[in-house]
């Protein structure tokens, strides 16, 4: 579905067209809502299996492409705080009062910040591949600036922990490394005039509001952790888990959890949702 999402001042002036995937069913704002928030250089398509499951099991699903990503209008927003406000504005546009926020990687920071800004609107947090702070190495940022396609390959190699993800995502015959590389290259090419890779990773690196946000979160939280994750390794989630009093579920995966271990991640999500 396409939505008009209000601009930063809350008015329709400066609103942007946003695309949100609905899991293969028309969106019903009366159903319990699950919002899937993608990570850096990604779009909604990393969530499609989980989103379809939710949409066909009694949930209303919004899996938006963030501004400047996928099928949503740009430009990309400059901070985690701005993306959190945008996500809450997306709920307004869809007629949703409360929702479960499910984030991956950079999306976990957005979900965390949104839950802190509007505690009454967030019923649960489910964070996949989370860490705070989410610092990015100078080497990667420098490569991102000078040679973004090389940086894409670096992140691709770091984020996927196996040469044999079974069952492949989103279906048999898909090569997860190649799919992720193609998606990132497409995102980089679509966002003309902006080095989207550098932008997204700087947004992660710059976010400094996590500790304050954690203190404001009042809803139940679940962390789904990839046992082989090199980008947000399990030990990097401990402080976050303690602060959020979160249940921690570990799946056999690297950082690309939804594609590497789709069945285990679905099981974790069902546990988090009580579904």
């Amino acid at each position: 579905m396409k939505l008009d999402v209000r601009g930063p001042n809350g008015s329709m002036k400066g609103s942007m067209k946003a695309y949100a995937y609905n899991g293969g069913k028309p969106f019903d704002p009366a159903l319990p809502c699950v919002v899937f928030i993608h990570g850096a250089m990604q779009d909604h398509s990393g969530w499609t299996l989980l989103a379809r499951w939710c949409a066909h099991h009694g949930f209303g699903v919004l899996a938006p492409d963030q501004p400047g990503h996928g099928q949503s209008a740009g430009p990309p927003l400059q901070s985690v705080q701005a993306l959190a406000d945008w996500t809450l504005a997306l709920l307004d546009a869809a007629g949703v009062r409360q929702a479960t926020l499910v984030g991956h990687s950079m999306g976990t920071l957005i979900a965390l910040e949104a839950a802190a800004r509007a505690p009454a609107r967030v019923t649960r947090l489910v964070l996949l591949g989370a860490a705070y702070p989410m610092k990015v190495s100078d080497a990667l940022l420098n490569t991102a600036r000078a040679a973004p396609l090389e940086a894409i390959d670096m992140v691709n190699a770091l984020s996927i922990s196996t040469l044999a993800s079974k069952p492949s995502y989103p279906g048999p015959g898909m090569w997860v490394h190649g799919s992720n590389r193609a998606l990132m290259r497409n995102q980089q090419a679509l966002c003309s005039g902006i080095n989207l890779f550098e932008h997204d990773f700087r947004v992660c690196d710059a976010y400094a509001g996590g500790t304050a946000a954690m203190a404001k979160v009042s809803c139940p939280a679940t962390l789904i952790v990839g046992a082989r994750d090199q980008m947000t390794p399990p030990k990097a989630t401990r402080d976050l888990a303690a602060a959020l009093k979160a249940q921690v579920l570990t799946v056999p995966s690297g950082h690309h959890l939804m594609a590497e271990a789709p069945d285990a991640v679905l099981a974790g999500l069902r546990t988090a949702l009580g579904a």
């Binding site: 909604h44 398509s45 040469l163 069952p167 898909m174 090569w175 497409n186």
Partner: protein
Amino acid sequence: MPGYSDPGFDTLALHAGAAPDPSHGARAVPIVLSTSFVFDSSEHAASLFNMERSGHVYSRISNPTTAVLEERVAALEGGSGAIATASGQAALHLAIATLAGAGSHIVASSMLYGGSHNLLHFTLKRFGITTTFVPPGDIDGWRAAIRPETRLLFGETLGNPGLEVLDIPTVSSIAHDAGLPLLVDSTFTTPWLMKPFDHGADLVYHSATKFLSGHGTVIGGVLVDSGRFDWNNSARFPELTEPYDGFHGMVFSEESSVGAFLLRARREGLRDFGACMSPHTAWLILQGIETLPLRMARHVDNTRKIVGFLAAQPMVQRVGYPELDGHPSQALARKLLPRGCGSVFSFDLKGSRRQGVAFIEALKLFSHLANVGDCRSLVIHPASTTHFRMDDAALRAAGIGPGTIRLSIGLEDADDLIDDLKRALRAAEKAA
């Protein structure tokens, strides 16, 4: 810069898509000869059918062994995924049938494998899909042939029979300017010699019967998607960007930003046309791919020695190999095929059809048959076999002379192959 990168080609050829079998610990890829796969529960079954989960249901649609092959070829090509098919022809048909229907139009190279030409020129016409053929080097011709109803541009990395190198960067640019994908038959080159996606192609297919299998044992094809073509912004492919009543109203470009084409090709094309690959065939092709880098290096090394030998023979009028001076594609070959131009090429004997036949019949090591890409060396004389109904004028129009011989160079000792050719050349000379 830190050295994080995906594994290299040789490693991927051995490992991509495969891990030790979790049930038994088998290190080699198991052959899963099962038509169908048990559901854990009714809910599990429903979620597989509705694409809420990934997994195997029925081996016409997908199979664990075949999926390893699909992932491996996708990895070697640098693609997002692949579909294995019953043959290379089935892969070509699947690509076309996924993107085109009655009223659609294709622009194709005029220098194609005969089977592909038959499909495009005769058979698809019966189903309302027409094709304009363009000489692969006629860049303006490619551009001029595109119509509003065009859905695809198509060529071979190395044309048949003259090995014209397709200018993939230029032709793909023309295609993309028109909102169209470029499909490339990469059978003769394999990803070891060239990765067409690196040069702008959007879809690649192989007759895996040839070099990928490499041992002349099985028939199979693989269709690979780069994941780079922007179906959403083309406006020519409602099959991918609008709800499909034949599969839960699914909009494939919403389901996967980089796999929309493959989702439709599998969920419709394999389901309804049914030209799937046997798991046993997939396993044999996987065995072949494990040694593809070693074999291709030897194929090219042997070919260069034999090309050099033939070019120096007085009985040989012309050798058609793009690395040679005078070949029209020499410059493109240097740019796109620095590792070599494969091991299939043709040469012209001086003399008559009878001398061509004498040459063939004198060969001992080269096998006279209609295939290429075997580990054994192969030969065919088109004028007396595949094109025997044509007179000399018609042969010339097809780029074939009465003395044209096509060789597929195998992995034998090059000196033995050269000795075999010497004997055959003497026989041809005597038959004058």
